[in-house]
């Protein structure tokens, strides 16, 4: 993150966010990262920050149903959109995809896991029966440093209505 020039003043504006169906209103620097607002102001720390520059996918959230990197999104530009975080996806108990991740043991340290689940949820909503190639393509923005890829692929495919 950039440190503003000495004495550089920030002008807060009112930003209204819709996160997991709830309304949140802030007086805030509109350029603050959505990831920080979710984590530090709303307390939704299930969204992780791994790189802060859009290169790892740990911070993925759904914006109007599509997975985006919340570390790259200025909070001002998220206003008026429907934001879903891992907490929102988990509100009514485990989803079949989360069950599948557990069953396939598709995680180790788990730091990438919320982002993986969010991205895969976005994929399965848009394309309920993705092929193996489509799963790999869609998940290529989510790094798993523990290297759980074969099991992540298996977990997602087990939720796909397709033939893989």
């Amino acid at each position: 993150m950039l440190v503003p020039e000495r004495g550089g003043a920030v002008v807060p504006v009112t930003v209204v966010l819709c996160v997991n169906g709830e309304r949140h209103e802030f007086e805030i620097d509109p350029l603050e990262r959505l990831a920080d607002v979710l984590r530090d102001r709303i307390g939704l720390v299930g969204t992780k920050v791994g790189c802060g520059e859009g290169a790892c996918g740990a911070c993925a959230v759904l914006l109007d149903g599509r997975a985006v990197a919340s570390c790259l999104l200025a909070v001002g530009s998220a206003a008026g959109h429907r934001i879903e975080t891992i907490e929102g996806l988990s509100r009514d108990g485990l989803t079949p995809l989360q069950e599948a991740f557990i069953a396939a043991d598709a995680l180790q340290c788990g730091f990438c896991t919320p982002g993986q689940i969010v991205a895969a949820t976005g994929l399965l909503r848009a394309e309920p029966a993705p092929t193996r190639a489509a799963v790999r393509q869609a998940m290529s923005g989510n790094i798993c440093r523990c290297g759980c890829y074969p099991k992540i692929e298996q977990a997602i495919l087990s939720c796909s209505g397709g033939d893989g």
Binding site: R6, V45, T85, F111, P114
Partner: protein
């Protein structure tokens, strides 16, 4: 009331059974609290001012403007470190905060705590450090030798008819754990502190914090927070002492979270290596001698370099019988980034060389590379080049033959293959023309645990009590779950030994004895062994269990002693146990552009005993992913001591698209010294996967491929 209970033999979740990892559910819902997720009432946020220069003398540090900033609570320098000014794993040579001379880029100089992160960052910018910039020592050939390991094994005059030689290089790899260094220090109001942190070895952190803060262990309690991966990079301290220092100074909880860029400067990396090898063999293909000169760049501080260079020397010849070995391995200190532990430390680097040499030798002899390896395979009863007789399992031949028997992936069909199946992928660089396939084999080995006489142990406290008439087993250790699945395996062990369904593994902290490090493939063996022994001790006393009386035992588990290497000859029984894995890589290479696609990795690994099948597979697949990264893309680039790519945009890590299917055959040859016969699992997959890929690329292109990560230019 005293009862004797019959233990139900059918409780589920015992050793060897499929059991979902205990922390899986909170991890998939986002509820699992990592070290970066913690908060406490009234906490401050802290940042680090780091040196932009790799080598400099500090003339002055002016903190006045930072101190005067509203919302800033502390701005500390080395002068504020009350105890020892330097710490370190093997030797205390690394300043907590730079005292006078900066020795690597990014070294911490000043720490700042403020009401919020933004204020802390702004104040950090106001700290003025005056540097007298010095010329960095960036060339390892000019580095000061930190440790030199000589091995002189067998008749040193032995020569051979067939001789091959080569020079090899391994780049500097980063652990790149996804959860950056972070933690929360909370002062107890009585001069002590509780630190919640992601680490690999709680007691080693505690020891170093105590030394720097001049506090007794009882005043510094270290608790494991959720760990976002480790791979060796969390063995040395990063922000631990800084956060405690600030918390004690301000009387407020202090949270510190590194950015990704800082993380590249915040931990040690895998040592880059330069290796010159010569192998001699009989015309029939029996290895006669191996000569090797190995140079590792340890960077600015010692860290675990002494152990890494020892491994590089001891495993330099690979898992082969050889009559004579002449190994000179040294690790030097420079002004490059400090290097230390990373998964497979020392063994990873030399495997790139010894396996390339075996292929060269096979070609010179006109023998199949796998046949040559099988012919020279170490087995139980053989001597390693350190003179140590292997008395545990050494299934080298079995692993190689098992691997060779595994089916190969299908040939690429027509020229009209799916782009995504080709090198270059959707970049549409080829439709199959110019693409050649290569197959390469490699095998590697490494020790489980620490070597050379280190008295390695772990401690477990197991307590059984009755809760509403039902037995509850509580397992308490200081062993760090870093993603390897330890908490689940410990639970399985307690259930197996005591037969009770309800087992809780308590959070790891320093209120129980040390468990040693979650590294060196040792934790399941060591802490698993401690938990097993503590359960056995509890079992003997279960007749005492009553509603108002629990049974508790604390046991230390030591492995058998090891011994130092002779300083002149490098001979000695330095290792506890050995673990082995073999890999076969199938790669497609676009020979016009030098682009690679790994089609499949097949592997055979002997794990002694499968404790948890899914986790065991996960360790193997994950280790292969990191081995693939080292083979093809992962490298910290330095230029005169400056890191050029401290971010995930320029430091490339394999994604799901890079990861090929893994064909896996796990064998179980029980290790007689280990609990349940298990063996280390975590490191072997990262050892031979890299050289197997390099071998496949040589086979596909006919190019020598002597350096990893391989660059496109090396392939065309």
């Amino acid at each position: 009331m005293s009862t004797t209970r019959t233990r139900t033999p059918l409780v589920r979740g015992r050793v060897g059974e499929l059991m979902p990892r205990r922390d899986a559910e909170p991890k998939v819902t986002g509820a699992f609290a990592y070290s970066s997720d913690l908060e406490a009432e009234g906490m401050l946020f802290a940042v680090t001012v780091r040196s932009p220069h790799p080598h400099a003398r500090i003339a002055a540090i002016d903190t006045a403007a930072a101190v005067a900033t509203a919302g800033v609570h502390a701005v500390l320098t080395h002068a504020d470190v009350p105890g020892r000014k330097t710490v370190g794993m093997h030797r205390a040579d690394q300043p907590v905060l730079v005292v006078d001379v900066v020795r690597y880029q990014g070294e911490p100089v000043v720490i700042v705590a403020a009401d919020d992160l933004e204020t802390a960052r702004r104040a950090a910018v106001l700290v003025v450090v005056t540097y007298e910039v010095l010329e960095p020592v960036a060339d390892p050939e000019r580095g000061e030798v930190l440790r030199d390991v000589r091995i002189r094994h067998g008749d040193q005059s032995l020569g051979a008819d067939v001789v091959v030689s080569g020079s090899y290089e391994v780049g500097m790899q980063d652990q790149a754990f996804l959860g950056p260094e972070s933690g929360l220090a909370i002062p107890d109001g009585d001069g002590g502190v509780d630190l919640h942190v992601a680490t690999q070895w709680l007691h080693l952190d505690q020891e170093q914090i105590c030394a720097a803060l001049d506090l007794p262990p009882a005043k510094v309690r270290v608790h494991l927070a959720g760990v976002g991966g480790a791979f060796g990079g969390r063995e040395d301290v990063s922000m631990q002492i800084h956060a405690c220092l600030l918390a004690l100074r301000t009387g407020r909880p202090v949270k510190m979270v590194y950015t990704r860029e800082e993380s590249f400067f915040g931990h040690v990396h895998r040592h880059p290596a330069w290796m010159r090898y010569e192998h001699g063999a009989t015309p029939e293909g029996d290895l006669v001698y191996v000569r090797a000169e190995i140079l590792l760049d340890g960077g600015a501080y010692a860290s675990s370099s002494p152990a890494v260079v020892s491994n590089a020397a001891c495993f330099a010849a690979g898992p082969y019988r050889v009559q004579r070995a002449t190994i000179d391995a040294r690790v030097v200190m420079t002004n490059n980034p400090p290097c230390g532990a990373m998964r497979g430390f020392g063994a990873v680097q030399v495997a790139v060389a010894h396996e390339a040499q075996m292929d060269l030798l096979a070609a010179a002899l006109g023998i199949d590379p796998v046949d040559l390896r099988v012919r020279n395979a170490l087995k139980t009863g053989d001597r390693m080049i350190t003179g140590q007789v292997i008395d545990g399992p050494a299934p080298v031949r079995e692993l190689l033959e098992g691997l060779r028997a595994m089916p190969l992936p299908l040939e690429r069909g027509s020229l009209r293959a799916d782009l995504r199946e080709l090198p270059g992928g959707v970049a549409n660089t080829t439709h199959g023309e110019g693409v050649r396939r290569g197959v390469g084999y490699a095998i590697g080995f490494k020790n489980m645990g620490f070597a050379e006489g280190f008295d390695d142990y772990s401690t477990a406290r197991v307590r059984v009590s009755l809760v509403n008439g039902e037995p509850l087993v509580e397992v308490h250790t200081a062993a760090c779950e870093v993603g390897q699945g330890l908490v689940t395996v410990l639970e399985q062990i307690a259930r197996t030994e005591l037969g009770f369904e309800h087992v809780v593994v308590l959070p790891a902290d320093t209120t129980v004895g040390s468990a040693g490090s979650s590294s060196a493939s040792r934790q399941t063996w060591m802490t698993g062994g401690a938990v097993k022994a503590a359960c056995e001790a509890v079992r003997e006393r279960l007749h005492e269990l009553a509603a108002d009386r629990s049974v508790e035992e604390t046991v230390e588990h030591h492995h058998r002693p090891t011994f130092p290497l002779d300083p002149e000859t490098g001979q000695g029984d330095a290792q506890v146990a050995l673990c082995f894995a073999a890999h076969r890589a199938v790669c497609d290479v676009d020979t016009d552009l030098g682009l690679v696609r790994v089609v499949e990795i097949a592997t055979t690994q002997d794990v002694g005993r499968i404790m948890n099948p899914a986790q065991c597979e996960g360790q193997i697949q994950g280790g292969i992913a990191q081995g693939l990264g080292l083979a093809l893309m992962e490298e910290i680039k330095t230029e005169n001591g400056l890191v050029r790519n401290p971010n995930f945009t320029d430091y490339l890590i394999p994604t799901i698209l890079d990861m090929p299917p893994v064909r896996l055959a796990i064998s179980e040859t029980p290790h007689p010294d280990a609990p349940y016969g298990l063996n280390g699992v975590g490191e072997p997959p990262t050892i031979a996967s890299t050289p197997a890929i390099a071998a496949a690329l040589r086979a596909a292109t006919g190019r020598p491929v002597t350096r990893v990560p391989v660059r496109p230019d090396d392939l065309i």
